[in-house]
Amino acid sequence: MNEIVRTGAKVMFPLILLFGIYVIVHGHTTPGGTFSGGSIMAGGFVIYTLAHGVRKTEIDMKEIAINVLKSVSGFILIMLILFELFLRTALVPTETLFTLWSGSSLMFFNIVGGVMVFTGLLMIWYTIARTDVE
């Protein structure tokens, strides 16, 4: 890919990640949630990989971090589900209705689920993209 495409992907990549994090965190007030935000974040990585090639992307972002994130987020989700009954009214107040800090324990579910979807999609994409590298 030539210089214009590579520079454009390098500039757009952090903005796409930021938009994906916004869709995930605001999942309890606006339409969105785990799957939409996770797909948007994985789409940012796909654009960077298509413009720069798989080798340079592996050097830039280590994939050990992806494995660690996947296992840690799965463990946190299981813990959240088991202890959700105690966390429900202790963490977030249930009187405020239209602000961000409302909806007891839904924001944590959305963040953890978004990280799970994002790492799962990244793992699928890198395995299929690496079968074509010589």
């Binding site: 999942g27 309890h28 007030t29 606006t30 339409p31 949630g33 996947k70 799965g74 989700l77 589900i81 249930t94 009187e95 405020t96 209705l97 239209f98 409302s102 909806g103 007891s104 839904l106 579910f109 959305n110 689920g113 799970m116 979807v117 799962g120 999609l121 793992m123 699928i124 395995t127 299929i128 690496r130 079968t131 010589e134």
Partner: protein, 114 residues
Amino acid sequence: MNEKIKLPVGLGCIVIVLGFMIFSIFNAGFAQWESKSIAGFFINEGWRQLSATNTVTTIVWEYRGYDTLGEETILFTAAMGVFAIGAGLFAAEKTQSSREKATLSPSVKEPVKA
């Protein structure tokens, strides 16, 4: 599957699916879905009990959370399956030259005429 039974079976599937859809359109259940569906409880009580304004998110994570747990399990299983087959392909292509990568078993190139 034989060539002779492919066409009637395909047409039969299409007829069954379209018949089910047309029957469900003209059923009288659409006009009274508020008394026949469970959505009345979710709409009235969802945002009061949980104080979150997105009703779909409260259904997905609070009232039907078990289905979401199973869906995340399926997502992780597919990712691990893809990684397992991909690791095998990556190791197999390292030990082969690039010229004969696509013909691992050369006896299959000519199809046997039955």
